[in-house]
Amino acid sequence: SQKIEQNSEALNIQEGKTATLTCNYTNYSPAYLQWYRQDPGRGPVFLLLIRENEKEKRKERLKVTFDTTLKQSLFHITASQPADSATYLCVLNSGGYQKVTFGTGTKLQVIP
């Protein structure tokens, strides 16, 4: 069956360091992958999209990689700040253009 795995344990990191979050998937062949941020009690907010033919995408302090051979995406936040503390969701398209499937997310805590 199709599965998206994100580290369910919280990731604690010191301010200023690079945070790296992992998304692994099985039995998918996604054409694209997205990352969202979700704060407690709020809806997710779109951050980045990477297509299957792209290896890496950057936006300010964010970087996403996509390895379709390993079936893995890595999400990096450089020079992390306490304001980056949130849950980060990995999202794959799972049925044509319309349907996507969300991972359960990894909670990031940046410690001052």
Binding site: S8, Y32, Q34, G41, R42, G43, P44, V45, F46, L49, L89, N93, Q98, K99, V100, F102, G103, T104, G105
Partner: protein, 112 residues
């Protein structure tokens, strides 16, 4: 900025009641979605709509129905609320050629 609003942030209903959750978007998006989010399960798609009066079942449609009479408005209906429908409900919209979804703030529904 895209704005997606939901009719209530918090709602408490009794078992057997009919419940209406409303979602409105202001960006003329063709696609609208209803998800529920539960701890450890992530976001799961209930229904989506790609045009006025058009709807498609998501992964967990049982016990729910939807209505889209106007492009900007997508309603989720619980015909007879049950305790296992206690959850956070999130509405989202997306443009016709884009991939990213824009989420509302969510409605936390408690069924007692």
């Amino acid at each position: 900025d895209v704005k997606v609003t939901q009719s209530s942030r918090y709602l408490v209903k009794r078992t057997g009641e009919k419940v209406f959750l409303e979602c409105v978007q202001d960006m003329d998006h063709e696609n609208m979605f209803w998800y529920r989010q539960d701890p450890g399960l992530g976001l799961r798609l209930i229904y989506f709509s790609y045009d006025v009066k058009m709807k498609e079942k998501g992964d967990i449609p049982e016990g729910y129905s939807v209505s889209r009479e106007k492009k900007e408005r997508f309603s989720l209906i619980l015909e007879s609320a049950s305790t296992n429908q206690t959850s956070m409900y999130l509405c989202a919209s997306r443009g016709s050629i884009a991939y990213e979804q824009y989420f509302g703030p969510g409605t936390r529904l408690t069924v007692t």
